[in-house]
């Protein structure tokens, strides 16, 4: 068996600032993972459907526009509706501290804010993966 950790990095919403998403995608690649990057301005539907077709273990959502309280839960809801709630969600971007508990309640295992070292995201994924196996 040649099992690789598969992660989809998606950017919903209207902001085109994808440096953070690309930085994380690259760091996860260098940690030996297969990273599907879908590009900017994706609808929650497109992200959820892609995650299912790609059979990923994780979906990471990056958003800097401020619409996270709407778009993050939407992706989680769609994955639940499509019987894919086993996919672990994490998020990143400019997200105020006070919004984080709500996003975790909506199904996000972790929220990473600006300044987080990439190694922390890698460690989060590896820890979650160990728990699952």
């Amino acid at each position: 068996m040649d099992r690789k950790i598969r992660v989809l990095i998606g950017k919903p919403g209207l902001d085109g600032h994808d440096r953070g998403a690309k930085y994380i995608a690259r760091a996860l690649r260098d940690a030996g993972m297969e990273v599907v990057y879908t590009g900017i301005r994706q609808t929650p539907e497109a992200i959820a459907d892609a995650a299912i077709q790609e059979d990923v273990d994780f979906v990471g959502i990056s958003l800097l526009s401020g619409a996270h309280n709407h778009l993050f839960p939407e992706v989680a809801k769609l994955l639940r509706e499509k019987d894919a709630s086993d996919i672990i969600l994490f998020g990143g971007g400019v997200i105020p501290e006070e919004d984080i508990p709500g996003l975790k309640n909506a199904g996000y295992a972790a929220i990473f804010t600006p300044g987080t070292p990439a190694s922390e995201v890698v460690e989060f994924i590896n820890t979650q993966m160990e728990k699952r196996l």
């Binding site: 068996m1 040649d2 099992r3 690789k4 995608a25 690259r26 996860l28 690649r29 260098d30 940690a31 030996g32 993972m33 297969e34 990273v35 599907v36 990057y37 879908t38 590009g39 994706q42 609808t43 539907e45 497109a46 992200i47 459907d49 892609a50 299912i52 077709q53 790609e54 059979d55 499509k82 019987d83 894919a84």
Partner: protein, 319 residues
């Protein structure tokens, strides 16, 4: 994990989740994959279209255009897009979807990205098996996009029923188009970025090179397109349809059967060799140590394993 029978049934019924799981199982070489593929093999239908060419030639953009065209003809379309895996970490950035995301929510388009995982021919080791899963699930054509290739990654021509070689201006002189390898495998040679300078020169290089083809071989059609603007796509569509019509389904299936068996024999050869190494030398590592210690050459080990296998077959008697 869902039992194998459920996955097979799910694939046959077109369940997206089951197809995605089946693809992971065959890609990871799971012990269940042989059973899954055994059941799906005879259900394959339609044809496969390979798309290859150098990095940045516009393969993903062209694939997205082809998806649109086939969907407008009411086909369900499967896509396998291979990107390179790191030889150092095994990680991969799979970015082909970026150009195809407009089809992400179309339930009759299934796009799967794969890392090459150490495989060197432009595809991944499991691309043929993945294509079998998508074809059995009712997707036709299955579009197979290779990694960005150089000169010698010709494996896709073995797998796909029809291969498009995508070239762009600016990658070298006329001698480049005379070289063996990649230049020989296109059933259709697609000259992309027709809106760019150098397209006339590229066309004359390619056509001049085709003039040298030995008589009796079928010359590939050369089609100019711009995948971005859509120019020439209808010509390409017609050229593909002519080739599809000229092939019979039976020929496609028998060719695919022979090639699939060939792949399986090679995989089995590796498995048997590991077992023989175990018997003869206590495994691969011990054998490698013998080589490094200067006691045996790799050739001597190879010969010894074949001799051992022959003795075992003789011992078991002839059937």
């Amino acid at each position: 994990m869902t039992p194998t029978a459920d996955i097979i049934r799910g694939v046959c019924e077109g369940s997206i989740r089951a197809i995605a799981r089946a693809l992971s199982l065959v890609e990871n070489g799971s012990p269940d994959s042989a059973d899954i593929l055994d059941k799906l093999f005879s259900r394959q239908q339609g044809f496969t279209l390979g798309i290859t060419g150098p990095p940045g030639a516009g393969k993903s953009t062209l694939v997205s255009r082809m998806i649109t065209r086939y969907r407008s003809a009411d086909n369900s379309v499967g896509v396998i897009a291979v990107d390179p895996s790191s030889p150092f970490t095994g990680g991969a950035l799979l970015g082909d979807r970026i150009r195809m995301q407009s089809h992400a929510t179309d339930s009759r388009v299934f796009i799967r990205s794969m890392g090459s995982r150490g495989h060197l021919g432009g595809l991944s080791g499991a691309t043929r098996d993945a294509s079998c899963v998508l074809s059995a699930a009712g997707y036709s054509p299955v579009l197979i996009e290779t990694v960005g290739v150089g000169q010698a990654e010709v494996e896709v021509a073995d797998l796909a029923d029809i291969t498009l070689l995508v070239l762009v201006p600016g990658l070298g002189d006329d001698v480049q188009s005379m070289k063996a390898g990649i230049m020989e495998i296109g059933d259709i040679i697609v000259l992309n970025k027709a809106d760019r300078n150098g397209i006339d020169q590229l066309e004359s290089y390619v056509k001049a090179s085709l003039e040298f083809m030995p008589p009796g071989l079928k010359k590939p059609e050369v089609v100019r397109i711009s995948a971005v603007t859509g120019e020439g796509l209808e010509d390409l569509w017609n050229a593909i349809n002519r080739l599809v019509a000229a092939q019979s389904g039976i020929d496609r299936r028998s060719r695919s059967a022979v090639k699939t068996l060939n792949d399986i024999l090679q995989e089995n050869g590796l498995i048997f060799s590991e077992k023989l190494l175990e018997l003869e030398y206590n495994g691969r590592e011990a054998a490698e140590e013998l080589i490094l210690a200067g006691q045996l050459s790799p050739y001597a080990i190879g010969k010894k394993l074949l001799e051992r296998a022959e003795r075992m077959f003789e011992h078991n008697g002839s059937k």
